[in-house]
Amino acid sequence: MMNYFPDEVLEHVFDFVTSHRDRNAVSLVCKLWYRVDRFSRQRVFIGNCYAISPERLIARFPGVKALTLKGKPHFADFNLVPQDWGGYVQPWIEALARSRIGLEELRLKRMVVSDESLDVLSRSFTNFKSLVLVSCEGFTTDGLAAIAANCRFLRELDLQENEIEEKKNHWLGCFPDSCMSLVSLNFACLKEINLAALERLVARNPNLRSLKLNRAVPLEVLQRILMRAPQLVDLGTGSFVLDHDSDDSETYRKLRATILKCRSIRHLSGFLEVAPRCLPAIYPICLYLTYLNLSYAAGIHGSELIKLIRHCGKLQRLWILDCIGDKGLEVVASTCKDLQELRVFPSDPFGAGHDAVTETGLVAISSGCPKLNSLLYFCQQMTNAALIAVAKNCPNFIRFRLCILDPTKPDPVTMQPLDEGFGAIVQSSKRLRRLSLSGLLTDRVFLYIGMYAEQLEMLSIAFAGESDKGMLYVLNGCKKLRKLEIRDSPFGDSALLRDVGKYETMRSLWMSSCEVTLGGCKTLAEKMPRLNVEIINENDQMEFVHEDSQKVEKMYLYRTLVGPRKDAPEFVWTLE
C-alpha cells in the first residue's frame, strides 16, 4: 500500500521515525524505502569512525545535517590505549567541507580533534549550529576561538571532559557582539576563562538554557550571571566558595536572593570547588531538580551531602561520590522516590576505597527506588544476597555497571564468587542493554548471561572467568551483542575462533591480557576480510620475530567496509 504514495508522503512518515535503529530498519525494507530514507535522512550516527569512510557517508546521505562520530575504543578511557592510536576527525571534516553537505551539528566522542579541524569546520558550514565534544583531545583554545568567531548561528558549544590546551587568548571574547543565539554553553573542563567576556556573553544571549561554568568562575560572578539568566534550566556552577576571612556575607545574601528567582533550574552540576557552608544557598532549587551531579565535588563531606539530598525529592538522576556512604544512600532511598539513574563514583579514583560504599547502600536504594533502571556503582564489596535482592526490587535495569574496587573480590560473607548475584540481575532485568561485571567470577556467570541477557548490547569483563567456555556462552547466547570488551581474563583462541561470523554482527571486540595468540588473531583476520584485526604492540617487539604462539597483549577488532585504516601508528599492526 505504501508503494502507491508519492515519495513526499513516505518522507513525511519517515520523519516520525527518529531513532537511528528504526531508520536503519526502514531503509532495509525495499529499494524504494531505501532511496527515500537516503535522501531524507538528516541525522546519522557512526559508532566507529573506521567502519566507513566520509566519502561513502556523503554519497549515501547527501542531506545529512547532524553527524555523530566515535573514535577510540571505550577502554581508552582507562589508559589502556596508547597515545596516537588514531581516531582523527580531520579527514571527515575535510571531506564534508569539500562536499556540498550543509552540516549543522557535529558530535564527537573519543576522537582526536585539531585546531585546524575546528578552523575548517567553523569556516565551511554557514548554518553550523552545534558542536559537542566528549572525551576528545588534540586541540587548544585557538580552535575554540575559531568556532566562536566564525559560526554565526552557533547555538550549542558543549565541551565535556576534554583535554584542551589553554592558550593565553581570550577565546570567549571572540564571539561577536552579534552572537545572540546561544542556547547551550559548557566549558567546565577548562581551567581558565575570561570573566568579563563571559558576563557580556551571557547578557546578550537571552535564549541560554544550559550553562556550565568552570572552576575559574567565582561565586560573585555566578551571582551576576544568574541575575542575567534566571531562565536557565541546566546550571553547572564553577567555584562555590566564599573565603571565610573576607566579608562575603553580602555576596552570599545576594546569591541566595538571586537563586530564589531561578525557578527553572532542573539540572545542577559543577561544584568543582565548594565550601559546604555555602550549600544552603541552593536548597530552594533542590526541590525542583531532576538531575544532580555532585561527582566532582570532593569538598563536600558525607553529612553535608545528606543534608542537601533531603531537599531533592524529585530527583531522577543522581551522580555522587562514595563519601556519601551507605547511610547517605539510605537517605537517598527514602527521599528520591522517582530515582531512575544512580552513579556512585570513588572519592579516591586511585582505588584506595576508604570511603567506599558497600552492598548495604545498594540494597537500600533498590528497596526505596523501584524505578531505578541505570546504575554505575563503585563499591568496596558486594554479596550475592544483595544482588539477588536488588534484582528482585528493580527488574527494570537497562544499564547495570558494578565496579568492586578489588576486582577479584568474592562475596565477603560466603566467600563465593558473585555468579549467582549477577545471574539474578540478568534474569530479572529482561531489558538489560549494558552490563559491567566485577568481583570474583567463574564461567557460570557467563552461562547465565548467555541464557538470559537477550537484549544485551554491551558487556565489559575484567579479571573474570575460568576458561574459553565463559566467552563462548556469551558469544553464542547474546544475539544482540554489539560491543564486547575483555581484559585480564583467561579466554583464548578456541573461544575467539569458534564463530568468526559473529564479529560481523558486532561493532567491535577488545581483548587485552587474555590468552589469545598471534596465530589465533592471524587466522581470524584471514577468514574475515571485512574485519580489521588490530594488534597493539607497545613493547617495541616489532624487531623481534613474531611467533604465532605468542600471546597478544592487546587486540581490537571491528567490522568495517573500508579495509585496514591508513592512519595506524607504528605500534598498531593490522593483520590481514
Binding site: S135, F345, P349, G353, H354, P407, A462
Partner: protein, 198 residues
C-alpha cells in the same frame, strides 16, 4: 583468595603493567614529585588492610601505618575503571592541596611565643600529636570519644571556621585540616571544660 593469587601469577600482571619511566625501574603509578612531603593518603595497596581511612580514630591510623601491603596488590593499569579526566581532576586537587601547605599557628598555655606548623605534612592525628608533643615538650594523654584526653593536664584544641574551639580528634582528619584555623594546647583547669579527666 587462593584462586585470585594463582590467577594473578599466571597472568604476570606486573610484567604487563604499563608504567611511566624506564623498564626495570619501580615507579608508583601516582606521579607526584618527590618534593611533596609524605602526607599522602594510604596507598591503594595498603587499603585492603585498613578498614577505614586515617580520618577515623588515632588508633586506626596506627594500624594502617604498621601493616605491610601484600605484594600481589600492585597498582593495576586502568583499574578502577575511572576516566583519566576524572582521575586528573582529583589528582590535581590532591596535588594542589599538597603543594600549598596549610600553616596554622599553635599556641601553648604558658609558652612565651607561638609556633607554626604545616598540617599537610601529617597523615593523621597520631602524627600531628606526636609532633606537637615533641615541639612543646609535653604529652597529651589517651584519646577516647567519650572522655576526650585522659591522663594529662594538656589538651589539644583548635579553632574551626565558625570560630568555635573544638577538641582535636573528634572529626575525621580531612574535615579537621580543612576547618582548622589555629590550634591551642590548653593546660590545667581551663582544659577540664572540654571533658578531660585528669
Amino acid at each position: 583468595m587462593e584462586k585470585s593469587i594463582v590467577f594473578e601469577k599466571d597472568l604476570n600482571l606486573e610484567a604487563t603493567e604499563l608504567r611511566l619511566g624506564l623498564p626495570g625501574t619501580k615507579e608508583s603509578e601516582k606521579q607526584t614529585p618527590s618534593t611533596i612531603k609524605s602526607n599522602k593518603r594510604v596507598l591503594p595497596d595498603m587499603s585492603e588492610e585498613c578498614g577505614s581511612k586515617d580520618n577515623s580514630n588515632v588508633s586506626h591510623v596506627k594500624k594502617c601505618d604498621q601493616e605491610v601491603a601484600p605484594p600481589a596488590k600492585a597498582q593495576v593499569v586502568g583499574w578502577p575503571p575511572v576516566r583519566s579526566y576524572r582521575k586528573n581532576c582529583f589528582q590535581a586537587k590532591k596535588m594542589e592541596a599538597e603543594t600549598t601547605g596549610m600553616y596554622v599557628k599553635v599556641s601553648m598555655d604558658g609558652a612565651p611565643y607561638l609556633r607554626k606548623i604545616d598540617l599537610k605534612v601529617y597523615k593523621g592525628y597520631q602524627e600531628l600529636l606526636k609532633a606537637l608533643e615533641d615541639m612543646f615538650k609535653f604529652s597529651v594523654g589517651k584519646y577516647s570519644e567519650r572522655e576526650g584526653y585522659n591522663g594529662s593536664e594538656f589538651v589539644p584544641t583548635y579553632e574551626d571556621k565558625d570560630g568555635d574551639w573544638m577538641l582535636v580528634g573528634d572529626v575525621p582528619w580531612d574535615m579537621f585540616i580543612s576547618s582548622c584555623k589555629r590550634m591551642r594546647i590548653m593546660k590545667g583547669s581551663e582544659a577540664r571544660g572540654l571533658g578531660c579527666a585528669v
